[in-house]
């Protein structure tokens, strides 16, 4: 299975729709163990991302991802801005100059993104952050043929798993034990992102 730059663009558009739709829910999650702005941050960032991609005929996947990265870095405001921005920027380096990538090349991009998030946030798996969705998704795309429903399931279960974790990084870490039993907002937005990817890839195959 290959992934095309048209699918990458559709991915970003669908992610935006999900961020808009779940804006209040994401902020509600952030309210409990943070400052209540995660939905606001993500909705604004992705809105601007699709605005700048809309009239753009860029075919280079790397360039599309880089443009999205720069917009997220500029517009998100919260911790999730540099984190998603760095993730996209690192992936863009791997996909530079390509209009289509193999499953292996796609996984390499996600791997670079995960490394980027780790470096930027000085975080590890199990710290109740978006990494706790990105890492299981990375392992999935590295080891399995990408089946959309399986991808969504992987991301969803990983997201749900953050409810059992105690935050060690970011604002939620101030809440210590109290953060346990709440879902991590960044993990939830990452689940939405990968659900969007699954749907973007599905539509392409149907079409």
């Amino acid at each position: 299975m290959e992934i095309t730059s048209a699918e990458i663009k559709r991915w970003l558009f669908m992610a935006n729709e999900k961020m808009q739709y779940n804006k209040d829910y994401l902020s509600e999650l952030d309210q409990a163990i943070g400052d209540g702005d995660h939905g606001h941050n993500m909705a604004r960032g992705f809105q601007e991302t699709v605005e700048s991609l809309k009239d753009d005929n860029e075919e280079d996947m790397g360039a599309v991802m880089k443009s999205a990265a720069m917009t997220l870095i500029s517009k998100v405001g919260g911790a999730s801005g540099p984190l998603y921005g760095t993730a996209f920027l690192k992936a863009s380096d791997e996909w530079k100059g390509k209009q289509v990538v193999t499953a292996g090349e796609f996984a390499k991009g996600i791997e670079a993104a995960v490394e980027g998030i780790k470096t930027r946030g000085k975080a590890e798996r199990g710290g109740k952050t978006l990494l706790d969705v990105w890492i299981p998704v990375l392992e999935y795309v590295q080891n399995q043929e990408l089946v959309p429903t399986e991808l969504t399931k992987t991301a969803k279960e990983a997201m749900e798993g953050t409810a059992d974790m105690t935050a060690k990084k970011g604002r939620a870490s101030y809440y210590g034990e109290k953060s346990t039993s709440h879902l991590d907002p960044g993990a939830y937005s990452s689940y939405l992102l990968f659900e969007a990817l699954a749907e973007a890839v599905t539509k392409e195959e149907e079409g």
Binding site: D35, D37, N41, I73, S74, K75, G77, G78, A79, S80, G81, P82, L83, G85, T86, R120, G121, K169, G170, R171
Partner: protein
């Protein structure tokens, strides 16, 4: 030689500007202090673009000390630095209390100490007052 400069990154523009007001009162000759507070939209948060612009302004052979308040500020600071591979002087991102640390750094930089010495002095400072 140029003295070390200081950059103050806060989620709140008021905090960052207030710190500049506070330390400017110590009127350290030739110590430049810059603020990068809030998001582009003027909300609570930080902005890698703002920080990048301020780091470019602050850059010089004396180097720059960077102070920040909470979490995402340091991520945006490091991201901004990644985008600035060609700065003239060194940059030290300080894990110190933003108000108290900046105060000490401005005093120490004012004495003409080099970037590394200023950073050392800030680290040595006990922040239980």
């Amino acid at each position: 030689m140029n003295k070390a400069a200081v950059v103050v990154i806060s989620h709140s523009a008021k905090i960052a500007e207030g710190i500049v007001d506070l330390v400017s009162q110590t009127k350290q000759p030739d110590v430049q202090v810059f603020s990068a507070g809030g998001t582009e939209a003027g909300e609570i948060g930080t902005s890698a673009d703002k920080i990048k612009a301020v780091l470019e302004q602050a850059d010089g052979e004396g180097g720059v000390l960077v102070f920040y308040d909470i979490g995402s500020a340091v991520m945006n600071a490091e991201l901004a630095l990644d985008m600035l591979p060609d700065l003239e002087g060194g940059v030290e991102i300080m894990d110190a209390p933003i108000v108290e640390g900046t105060y000490v750094a401005v005093v120490e930089a004012g004495m003409g100490k080099a970037l590394e010495e200023v950073a050392e002095a800030v680290r040595r400072q006990e922040f239980v007052k």
